[in-house]
């Protein structure tokens, strides 16, 4: 690239940047995004706590929910439940009465009673003379607490199963043995093993990061296309080209939009960070941070969480963030340069949406290549095995998907530093190739008026240019 061709890019850059950040759409859009990010960040902190996730972290997950009932009626036509079972049911802390009325009468009465009364009926299900199952139905008076109804129903079913097994001659100890749980894990020999919490981190972080990067890189690339198409279709481009070369316009615009993108990213990051810091003491993140502060003193589940967080982010260093920034810039340039070509290929704004289709497909393909392998790793959430997915590995090296997948790989240490460098170099080479293509054909297509240029036409131009 000759310096003459790029002369004036700084002025294009400055004007594009200033004018874009002054637009109402940018200001309003940023404010709206800030509000959304603040709400999401606060929500991530507060909502799990409201839903009781803090109990899991503090080790109280086994605590039974309080039964909010005033009366339990039992109507057992199977004859399975015994007085002992009725007594066991009484340990729920609610009076239990065997129903003396008919089920219909009692159901009718319940429908007019205040909240808190339930009737559990148990009946055999038959096929001919053979009993094939049992139907346990729980009727409740209006406005009764739903989880209490579920708890009673589940307890009755458990008692019936237990009693049935004893009736078949199974000892209580043997019955308890049948109730033990099993987990299955599929682990490639030599691969690391993840705890459930590590699996969760390795599942959530790539998805969240690929989504955020996709939005920024792809959306601002589209803005580059729109900006160039506006200049071309409004004929401003002809005026610009009496002062600067086409390449200077592309470079100025791509870099300006890149800076806008990074600036908005930082603003949103700061807003998210502030919302996080403000809500952390009241939310689940605060609990996790407390665990991390004294990670060596944690026991049980909390120790597992501390261990998972430490292991997953053990490779973080300032270099990680520098490399993420490099990947972001390269990824942005890759998509923005393509978008610039697309924007320059149309002569009418109404053609832009159609012209953008291949670009959109490319962006969505890259995003899904980064996103889907993580989705396919869902098994790992259940098995606790560190997944090694060839498709995910491919997404790190493939330049269309690497801008979306590499940053999370860096954060989580999924790739070694040499592997990351190789992936970045591949991306850089592709960016350079796209830049060369743009430099070769941009001058020709920017002044082309008439029918929309297709990708094949652009490639032909690149080949034909001496």
């Amino acid at each position: 690239m000759r310096s003459d061709n790029a002369r004036g890019w700084k002025k294009v850059f400055g004007f594009t940047f200033v004018q874009f950040v002054k637009t109402k759409s940018f200001i309003v859009g940023t404010v709206v995004l800030c509000v959304i990010v603040a709400l999401l960040t606060a929500g991530v902190n507060l909502i799990p706590k409201w839903l009781g996730a803090d109990e899991m972290i503090s080790g109280d997950s086994g605590a039974e929910d309080e039964i909010v009932l005033s009366q339990i009626y039992i109507s057992d036509s199977t004859g399975i439940l015994t007085a002992e079972d009725m007594a066991a049911l009484g340990t729920l802390g609610v009076p239990v009465t065997e129903s003396s009325s008919s089920d219909e009468e009692l159901i009718d009465r319940l429908s007019q009673e205040d909240a808190g009364k339930v009737l559990v009926t148990a009946a055999e299900e038959k096929s001919g003379d053979d009993v094939v199952g049992y139907a346990v139905k729980t009727y409740y008076s209006p406005d009764t607490d739903s989880s209490s109804v579920d708890a009673v129903s589940n307890t009755v079913v458990s008692l019936m199963k237990y009693r049935s097994m004893l009736n078949l001659g199974v000892s209580p100890e043997d019955f308890a043995a049948t109730q033990r749980y099993y987990t299955t894990s599929k682990i490639e020999a030599g691969a690391g093993e993840w705890s459930v919490f590590e699996s969760m981190i390795n599942y959530i972080v790539p998805i969240v990061f690929s989504l955020i990067l996709f939005i920024f890189i792809f959306a601002y690339g589209q803005t580059v296309a729109q900006s160039i198409a506006t200049e071309k279709t409004s004929r401003v481009m002809e005026l610009l080209l009496t002062s600067v070369r086409p390449l200077a316009v592309v470079i100025g615009k791509v870099l300006a939009m890149g800076l806008v993108s990074i600036m908005q990213f930082i603003i949103l990051g700061m807003v998210g960070g502030i919302a996080f810091a403000v809500t952390a003491p009241f939310g689940i993140t605060g609990d996790i941070l407390k665990i991390m502060q004294d990670s060596s003193l944690q026991t049980g589940q909390n120790a597992e969480i501390a261990d998972a967080v430490t292991k997953s982010f053990s490779t973080l260093s300032p270099l990680t963030f520098i490399l993420i920034l490099v990947i972001f810039i390269l990824g942005f340039m890759f998509f923005a340069l393509i978008a610039a070509l697309v924007g320059a290929s149309v002569s009418r704004m109404e053609d832009l949406a159609q012209a953008m289709q291949p670009y959109s497909l490319l962006g969505v393909l890259g995003f899904y290549l980064a996103y889907f392998p993580v989705m396919f790793n869902m098994d790992s959430l259940e098995t606790g095995a560190a997944a090694s997915n060839p498709m995910q590995l491919f997404s790190y090296y493939f330049p269309i998907s690497s801008p979306f997948s590499l940053p999370s790989a860096l954060l989580l240490g999924s790739l070694s530093l040499p592997q990351v460098i190789v992936a970045i170099l591949i991306l850089a080479v592709f960016v350079a190739l796209v830049a060369v293509l743009v430099a070769r054909v941009y001058e020709m297509i920017i002044l082309h008026n008439g029918s929309r240029l297709k990708f094949g036409d652009i490639i032909k131009m690149a080949g034909a240019k001496k």
Binding site: E231, T242, S243
Partner: protein, 300 residues
């Protein structure tokens, strides 16, 4: 000091958009680039401006290879273009900065032209809020603010009302007085005749006529005869070998081959006693030359 365009050729596939265009401006003044639609005028202007590269040939300014980014050029494009959403002053300052002007200097020049063209009140408006004519004035300001040595005006008066057209003309006259080199492309032949000395007429990329307009006209001689009488002079004209090419309320027009042929008709009219109202023997207008030359070229 000159602008020299030497044998430039531009092809798109098998189509020759410009086929060996050459001309030279050795002194300040207005040079006209004429042609029908699609004749290659805009492509030629884009090549001169360096927006497009020619397949062959060269453009030199003061003896050096012409480079738009380095030279002081003002350009008013045929198809007007401004950023619709941006404020007028912001975009004019931007265009001036691309020409290398510093902000205070640019603001001063822009303000002068705002006042000169009577558009001060639009400085903080967005372009989309302006009428087409006012947008055209803003673009003329963009072209003139850097005080360029070379001004290229592609259809400068199209779409303007007579008052604004006259305003533009007065600005062009001022620029000529200030020794500027102006290349003008227009379909309004009367405007070209008013301003231009040198002309090139293009048809389908080829140069069909070129030179000093006065010399070209002189070369044709007085070959356009218009006669208006109070009676029918058709038989008299036929006796002189003339057939009317146009009949209008202002009289009958003839193409004459010589002054003597025209005088012969005049004598016959006088001898016949038919009252003569108008007798005009003149050089052809640029419009007539243009139509003739383009027509000849099309017949080849």
């Amino acid at each position: 000091m000159s602008l020299k365009v030497d044998n430039i050729v531009k092809t798109y596939g098998s189509y020759r958009a410009v086929d060996g265009l050459s001309f030279e401006m050795t002194e300040p003044g207005v040079f006209a680039l004429l042609g029908t639609n699609g004749a290659g005028k805009t492509t030629s202007i884009r090549i001169i401006l360096g927006m497009l590269s020619a397949d062959s040939g060269s453009v030199t300014w003061h003896g050096k290879k012409f480079c738009t980014a380095n030279e002081s050029i003002g350009y008013l494009a045929e198809e007007r273009g401004l950023y619709p959403k941006y404020k007028i002053m912001d975009q004019l300052l931007y265009f001036a900065s691309l020409k290398g002007m510093r902000r205070p200097e640019a603001a001063k020049a822009i303000n002068y032209w705002f006042e000169r063209l009577g558009v001060e009140e639009y400085r903080d408006k967005r372009a989309e809020q302006l009428s087409k004519g006012n947008q055209q004035k803003i673009q003329l300001i963009a072209a003139l603010a850097p005080d360029p040595e070379l001004l290229i005006l592609d259809e400068p008066l199209s779409g303007l009302d007579p008052v604004n057209a006259e305003l533009f003309k007065s600005v062009i006259r001022e620029e000529i007085k200030r020794n500027k080199y102006v290349i003008m492309s227009s379909h309004q032949m009367s405007t070209i005749e008013e301003f231009c000395r040198g002309i090139v007429i293009l048809n389908k990329g080829k140069t069909v006529l070129q030179g000093d307009l006065n010399e070209i006209k002189k070369g044709y001689g007085r070959v356009k005869l218009t006669v208006k009488c109070e009676g029918d002079i058709t038989p008299l004209a036929q006796e002189c070998g003339l057939t009317a090419v146009e009949e209008t309320p202002n009289g009958s027009s003839y193409n004459v081959s010589s002054k003597e042929q025209a005088h012969a008709l005049l004598h016959r009219i006088m001898d016949s006693g038919i009252p003569l109202i108008k007798y005009e023997l003149r050089e052809p207008s640029l419009n007539e030359i243009f139509i003739e030359k383009v027509g000849e070229s099309d017949e080849k």
